[in-house]
Symmetry: C2
DNA sequence: CGGTTAAATAACCTATAGGTTAAATACGGC
DNA sequence: GCCGTATTTAACCTATAGGTTATTTAACCG
């Protein structure tokens, strides 16, 4: 398993079985047995997949008698979304509009502070190095 | 390499070197040489990484004399974001508010159509079923 | 043409991901 | 305490991801 959390999360998501498991869990918490049912695969295999998902922070597991119910864990999803946010401007038009608006506002702010406004740059590009607290929606 | 596009994209993103390359490319198109510079790694290794990224639809490459400039390709990012969207309600509060609002509107719409409104479900959960093809070997 | 720079390919090595079967563990019920 | 059900662990196998060095292709330059 990878050292950094983002790598293990992406690696976990890179398997169709695991993504299908997550899709099932989006419907609600359930047992390993039920999760395994749709797949033509041994239980230990599913068990391993779940361990990978848990390690990646994509699911968490409870304990209820002999069952270990799994549910979606938000953390890792959030991190992925945050990382993706650094690239949103490359495909999301509405994001670009919003971004432009925000820049407009910042410029106005600056104009109020300085009588002599600084030159407006065409488009400020910034990519923080990997750590990025990320731009969440809203 | 994986059969389905989403898997290869996530797999491509599961490597810190490749994510760093993407971060660099977010600043703008550039050559393989410049992309390789920050890494303590041979050029063929970088070349392979780029091939993976290209295959995943995360970058595209041009041709300019002996250089093969790389740039971000939106498609794969978009797909990842789309998939992630199925889980957004698990972590994004503002999304939940928006979702609630939309449901409200739909309900109003329905109320206009039928004099007798259908029972309001608590929370409509929908998860598109993933392609889930392949699954070679057992 | 021959030399130089940019990048990709080939051949190879090693660690590990994803699957298997068989055995072990955890818990509830009688 | 023993049995059945749910789940994990152990031991193993095979394909492949990610790196290496050496070689090849492609384009420009004088």
């Amino acid at each position: 398993m990878q050292p950094d959390p983002l790598s293990s999360t992406f690696a976990a998501l890179a398997d169709p079985t695991r993504r299908a498991i997550l899709a099932r869990l989006a419907l609600g918490e359930t047992s390993v047995m039920e999760l395994a049912a749709p797949f033509d695969m041994s239980l230990p295999a599913i068990s391993k997949h779940l361990k990978v998902l848990e390690h990646a922070g994509l699911i968490s597991r409870g304990r209820e008698a002999q069952w270990r119910p799994c549910r979606i864990a938000p953390v890792a999803f959030k991190e992925v979304d945050g990382w993706l946010g650094n690239f949103r401007r490359f495909w999301d038009e509405s994001f670009n509009r919003l971004d432009g608006l925000l820049e407009e506002m910042k410029a106005d702010e600056a104009a109020k502070a300085n009588t002599k406004a600084p030159p407006r740059s065409k488009r400020k590009v910034r990519v923080k190095k990997e750590k990025q607290g990320g731009r969440t929606r809203g």
